[in-house]
Every structure is written in C-alpha cells, then in structure tokens.
Subunit: 229 residues, 2 copies
C-alpha cells in the first residue's frame, strides 16, 4: 500500500447523541467517563474509527458496545474539528444523532461496566470535551428535521396513539400543539395506518392505535414530496 501523505494526521472519532422519549421528557443518553481527561464527567457515547469500517458502522458499533443499542434511526450530524477540543492530541469527531424507542430498548444502557444514564435535555450535567456543543447542534437539527420529515415515529413503539405522537412533537419542538389541528395534519400526510386495536390497561377510554406506513413513506420520498407538521 502506498501512502497518500506522511504528515501526522488527526485521530478520528465518532460520537453519538442518542435521543429517547419517556413519559415525561425528551432525553439524551450519556456515559460516565472512567479515565482522564474528564474522568467522572458525563460524555456522549463514542470512540475511534477503525480502518475497516465506515463512519456509520463505527457509530453503530459504539452504540452497541457502549449502550447495548441496536437497529436505531441514525443520521450524521456534523464533524467537529477544533484544534484543542481534546486536550491529549488532535481528535476530529464525526458526530451522529440517533432516535431510539425507549419503550422497546428498556433501560438496558450499561453494557460493559460503564455507567450510563438518560438525562432530560433541559437538565443536562456538565459534559466532557465539546460535547455540550454537539448536543446543542443535535437538538437544533432534530427540531428542524421533525417539521418536514417523519422522524417522530422513531421515538415511539411500533403501535402508538395519536396523543402519544403529539407528545413527541411537543417535547421535541418545546411547545404545545392544538389537538385537532395536529390530527388533521398528521393524517393528511397519509403516513399513518389506522389499526383495529386500541391501547390496553388504561383507566379511561382507550385510544385507537396507529402505525407508521413505511411503504407510503418510501413512495413519497421517491417522488420528492414534502410534508410539514
């Protein structure tokens, strides 16, 4: 193998902002660092990129290794390259954000001894490195994207009620939405399939369950159609 250049090169890492939604809040998964620098501080799950894996693969591997998370919605966010962002040496980080269904992934977050926990996005601890800037960027991207792409579904279980879906949008956007108008818009997208089931074990009238219509979505996507919520 010939080398393209022989100058020293930055280390290359991936870091992931993993969003999840529980009953109360939109949350981010953090891992407590065991080693210096920033030992004891909370940080984003992430690690170095290997030569034989793509960036996406590296991100998924780290999610698996550090948080036991698989098969999530994952999208590249931004690449952070400030010279001094890691005090040890030059490290450039390609960042991703992921959306997970907390209901299905349970709370299983600490895999290999490391401590992991979910934090509400407006109650985050101090983070290691420049990870606060990364989280900020991820939230901004999520807020922007949720309005024209159907990513709200990624935070919910397969079957969900319209009220649950509305909660997702309210939590992500940070403000309340009108129930009737929300329903009108969301069914108008044609991306929902109405099921013949209702939610179970609730102490009131049960709501109808819906599911996301992936086929319809792929069709819309191909045709380049957009929708807004």
């Amino acid at each position: 193998m010939t080398h393209t250049y022989r100058y020293p090169r930055p280390a290359l890492a991936v870091d992931c902002v993993v969003f999840g939604l529980d009953e109360e809040d939109l949350k981010v998964l953090l891992i407590r660092r065991g080693v210096e620098p920033f030992a004891g501080r909370w940080a984003l799950p992430g690690g170095f990129v290997r030569l034989d894996e793509t960036l996406d693969e590296a991100a998924r591997r780290e999610l698996r290794e550090e948080a036991g998370i698989e098969k999530v919605y994952l999208e590249q966010l931004y690449t952070f390259g400030a010279v001094e962002r890691d005090p040890r040496e030059r490290v450039v980080s390609v960042t991703y954000y992921a959306l997970v269904k907390l209901s299905e992934h349970a709370v299983r977050a600490a895999t290999d001894a490391r401590e992991a926990a979910w934090f509400a996005i407006d109650d985050l601890p101090r983070l290691a490195f420049d990870h606060e800037a990364i989280v900020d960027k991820a939230i901004a991207r999520l807020r922007g994207k949720v309005r024209y792409a159907p990513i709200g579904f990624e935070l919910l279980p397969k079957k969900f009620t319209l009220t649950q879906l509305q909660r997702v949008y309210e939590k992500v956007l940070g403000h309340e939405l009108d129930k009737r108008n929300f329903r009108k818009k969301v069914v108008a997208t044609g991306l929902l399939i109405e099921l013949d089931e209702v939610e179970q074990d609730v102490a009131h009238r049960a709501a109808r369950l819906y599911t996301f219509d992936e086929k319809a979505y792929r069709k819309l996507e191909k045709e380049g159609f957009l929708f807004e919520i």
Copy 2:
C-alpha cells in the same frame, strides 16, 4: 504528548464544492488531477487536514491554494467515510460547499499550475473518487437551504437587480418563478435595501439596484425567525 490510541488511523481530507453563477448557469469549480489515481480526471478542490488548523481553516486554505478564492460563504456539508473511496488508503473526507460571486472573483481559478474550470451542474464530466456523490449532496443541500436561508445573495455581486436575484433562485431550484410573486416575497423578508441607483450599460430600461441588508439579517437570525422564498 500522550497518545489517545495507537491503532492506524484514516487520513483526513477536506473537499469543497464551489458554486458560482454566471449569465447562463449554476456552475461548479473543478480541478484537473495531475497525478494518480484518477490522473487527468476532474475533481473537487481539496487536500489533507493539518494538525494545527481547524476543518474550516483547512477548507479555506485549500480554496486559496488551489483556486485563488478567498472570503466566500462556506458551510460544512457532510463527511464521507466509505472504506474504499480512495484506492490508495483509507481517507475520510469532510466536505464543504462554498458560494462565490463569480462577477467579483473573475475567472482566476488556476493558481499553481493546476488546471481549473467551471462546469454547469447539469453538464459535469466524470469525476474522480466519489466526488459525484459529493456534488449531488451539495446540490441537494443548496436547493433545500435556499428556500429558508438568504444564501441567494452570496452568488451575486453586492449590488444586484431583482431580476438577477430571481435568476439565481431559478437556476438553483431548477424551475421558473413568477416575477410578481417572487418580488412580493423577497421584499417582504425585509432583507433588501433599495438603492438610488440603476444598472448601467443595458440596452433597455435600466432596473433598480438592491443590496442585501446584513444588519436586518443578523437581527432576524437572533430572533430565530424564518422566512421562505
């Protein structure tokens, strides 16, 4: 300096998609490669990231060195990390897109012996590496962004007519716009300053000149307001 890890690491490059607009078309700046691999093929301007510069700085440096371009609108696009994208060795590329005022930057594009030229975006030659995918992504981003951010101005000289501005949008979006509706929307943004000048040396009634109101833009930006065109 302690090393964070001692595994082999990918080389890290930046590549730039530089957009310019002339009388006819939206164009991209390409550079003809002199060396293998892909010797003779056209490619995006770019190069390797140094340890003492940020990614943005690396991109600007390459634009200066390879194309003589300075002070342009520059924004990070995406990071490409397929394992085999460079046949020599693993190279990850952080890509940027830039908007330049062709009218002001003249045609000065070849600085250091290398051959450089502008190509209309729907008449591109075959490109080296995965640069076609990069250009595609840049065009998609530009099309999306132009609708809610005032980047059309970056492709025009300081003083421009509304017809020129409309041309920009038409070229970028790829379809024609209604003259009256376009003007209504664009003046409604409050981002234009009407000058007491008209264009010169035209063989017909001269159009009024406008300029971009950066102050108004910064204010809008702070308040988080959006606008659409």
